[in-house]
Amino acid sequence: MKLPRATPAALGFVLIWTFLAVFVLYPLTRIFYDAFTNEAGAFTLANFHEFFTDRFYLRSFWNSMVLGVAAVVTTSVVGVTVAFLLVRYEFPYRNLFSYLTMLPMILPPLVGVLGFVFILGRAGTVNVLLMDWFDLTHPINFMYGMQGVLLVETVHLFPMITLSVLDALSKVDPALEEAAQGMGAKGWRRFRDITMPLMTPGYVSGALLVFIWTFADFITPLVVGVQDLLAVQAYLNIVQFVDRRIFRMGIVISALLVVLAIVFVLLARQYVSIKDYSSLAYSKIERRRLGPAKRRLAVGFLSLLMFVSIMPQVGVALAAVGRGWALTPLPLEYTLEFFEQVSIETPKFIVNSILYSGLAVLVCLAVGVPMAWIMSRTRAPGRASMDALTTLMLAIPGTAIGIAYIRAFNFPLPVFDVALTSVWIILPLVLAVRRLPYTVRGSFSSLLLVHPSMEEAARNVGAGGLRTFWDITVPLVWKGILVGALFSFLTSIQEASATLFLTLGGWEMIPFGIFTFYIAGSQSQAAALGVILIAVCALSLYVVNRVAGTRVGGLFG
């Protein structure tokens, strides 16, 4: 099938590329321009020379790599185990667990790590109890250091692995595995030879996401005092504007993060290329019942995991209602004053959050669904670049995008005589660009499941390209699109890194509000707003569930 000649379709194609060029490619080029020039604007390699001869930057670089790999290992162990249990086995409370394992996904940045510190910090509940019971003079250091970052990332990100494998696991034809078993391949061998290769594409894309997320996260390390990581250095150098040289190094590190993201995407490309996504058909999996001992083990493992996963939420909830909570296992005094204090501004935060994230999702749909369609249904030129660009957008750290937007759009636009950075529309735009890939992927994978013959049939009876798309394709794939859009929404509403530099007075979204309260020094108020954000996320998940009529776990599976 060739690129549809119909003018609207061609126009749409051009519009999409214009959007990508203006809002993705151009800002990124701007970052690179900054990285390769000095204050006077002349070309230089000195910035990179400085980076690669600085012991501290090199250590940060190394630490970031190690942390990323470590997070992939820990999330894989946890995530794959959970996926296997949920897809393949039947045990008590399985449904409940499949809900709960998604819980860490609604854990906004900052809130998660703060919650952990309240429970596991040097003066957290666990250490206070340990010190009281065992008369320890010094607390055990769970949080301050790489181990703390790794813990937070693992709990937060293992569902990404679970989801990506869940998808593949449900599509692995059990007949294949049975055949293997019939031929004598059992247990580990069967897993290694049959199951693993089949779930590799899904797994690799999940692992890439985990790696890059960890790699790009600066908030978690900052709270636990780890600063020798690349993303942290990029952020810290940029937020101090006084020393222009350090500031430029921040941009250089951001550019480097982008380069590394490109490298990782290329390395993983043969697996994560969108074309490999969901190429196998779904088939209903028979779940096996577990024996009593194993059943207890499974329930025990999942319960323990849920216990750890829910720690940050519990910590945040306690901090939100506890007054002067220090060095006691639980707060001694309870109060609603923090909710009252944040309630003045909260309605504005909530409205902004829903408005901007909602608009972002609309942009995602307007751009992402046609993109998915072009990639899955046409041979239009530039599809491969579109695919690469989508994956890349996932990989670029939020701070890098934020700073790229400030550098790129802070000039008065010709007709309006106002800079894009002074108009609130920039927030939904940056959110849309950052979260577009989820919508594209969600739409793409479901488009693949609809046989083109149905669309051809429609065409044969005279329906045009767009008409066919709206009347035939969309009704068949809307659930997949919805899942993608939901994911875009949930991640947008929790986004802090890209919006941090771009937010001006009056545009604050909830995560920005949390950040401001935290910066203002009130962890309790930050916690109160965190609880509200978690509630908003949970509520939107619930609403979408009702609309879609399926369980979330089901939606993702």
């Binding site: 012991r55 301050y144 600063q227 504007f241 006084v242 002067g324």
Partner: protein, 374 residues
């Protein structure tokens, strides 16, 4: 229906107000601050100002504050290149305000002479801390010491006496228990690093700072986190903490103590109107308000000191003002006491980048080794 009618009437009234000749006296109905001063001081100040504007001009001013550390705020103002998205820059070091003046990014303050004149030109010996700009581009608002904080409960557990001076933070018993913010990240930390360097001279000063790093358990991202982690009991002592930040944690119910060593630097928290500010009249009105008794009282309840000798921190027994007095060691005004200041902002600003890069090289990059060495 009635609501609609009311709205129409309000719109009409607003329209008339704009048309009325008195409009020249009116202030704009919006005000945006960009400030490193924490919310806990800006929010009550803005709220009280809004009330005052309503009473005086019958204008409902929509106020907001862009919270940003001093360096960030400064950087954004420079990036705005004279097309600012805020009206007022409040807080930080006066030298930065001078830098902005040089770049023509501040508007000259048109304040009543009586107000400006009742603020002394400077405070402190042997080095004077300027409290207002002779050229009139910025003016001090409050006095605020950068001191140290500690958690009494943890101090007791560690068997330590309450700290009195910077040197007490080098006690080996505090190993891993000190919180501080890097001078590259925080202007209060940078100023206090300079206090140490100017007190001890370079080699000894850096030796002190390295030993302090050896005792440090966390370098926080911002100075505001330092009192937070001490209040919570995560760490026992904190270095270079602005008094009002620590006082907020006290107000929030935490057991935290503040000490201003003799050589602690005191900032006048300068304020200025940005050149090209969208709401210049409201901005100036806010500054006048902060320099009125009413404005000064709001600030005094949050743990800072008046910039006028004529006011003292004072309130009914049990009031926030009295809590603040107790918290800062019984002081009611910096004009009541001899202020020792050894910090020279001129020297500090000249070698700002050098101190930062030496910190990066000798302390930040070598922290692990310093922890083992000391």
């Amino acid at each position: 229906m009635i609501a609609n009618w009311k709205r129409a009437a309000a719109a009409l009234a607003a329209g008339l107000a704009i048309a009325a000749p008195a409009a020249a006296q009116q202030i704009e109905n919006e005000l945006v601050l960009i400030t490193p001063v924490a919310k806990t001081l800006t929010d009550p100040s803005l709220a009280e100002f809004a009330k005052y504007a309503k009473e005086k001009w019958n204008v409902t001013v929509k106020t907001s504050a862009l919270a940003a550390g001093t360096p960030v705020a400064y950087g954004r103002i420079v990036e705005w290149k004279g097309r600012p998205q805020a009206d007022i820059f409040w807080g930080g070091e006066s030298a930065l305000f001078d830098k902005l003046t040089e770049q023509n990014l501040l508007a000259k303050l048109d304040l009543p002479k009586s107000v400006v004149d009742s603020i002394p030109a400077a405070i402190g010996k042997p080095k004077a801390i300027p409290l207002k700009d002779p050229k009139g581009f910025w003016i001090g608002t409050v006095l605020e010491p950068y001191g140290l904080v500690y958690n009494p409960k943890l101090y007791q557990r560690l068997g330590l006496q309450p700290p009195k001076d910077w040197d007490d933070l080098l006690d080996p018993k505090l190993k891993g228990n000190v919180a501080q913010c890097a001078p590259t990240r925080s202007s209060s930390s940078h100023a206090t690093y300079e206090v140490i360097l100017q007190r001890d001279g370079d080699p000894k000063g850096w030796e002190f700072l390295k030993r302090l790093a050896g005792n440090t358990g966390i370098f926080t991202a911002r100075s505001r986190d330092v009192p937070s982690v001490v209040a919570k009991g995560e760490f026992a002592a904190g270095f270079a903490v602005p008094s009002y930040m620590a006082f907020e944690d006290r107000l929030a119910g935490f057991d935290i103590k503040f000490v201003a060593p003799k050589t602690a630097w005191i900032t006048p928290e300068p304020i200025a109107v940005l050149a090209g500010a969208p709401h210049p009249k409201a901005a100036l009105a806010f500054i006048e308000f902060m320099l009125s008794e009413r404005g000064q009282r709001v600030a005094m309840e949050r743990g800072v000191f008046p910039i006028f000798p004529k006011f003292k921190v004072q309130g009914a027994p049990g009031s926030k003002a009295e809590m603040a007095v107790e918290f800062t060691g019984g002081l009611r005004s910096y004009f009541d006491v001899e202020v020792t200041n050894i910090y020279d902002d001129g020297i500090a600003q000249k070698r700002y980048a050098e101190v930062n890069s030496q910190y990066r090289k000798d302390i930040e990059s070598a922290w692990e080794e310093l922890k083992k060495k000391y």
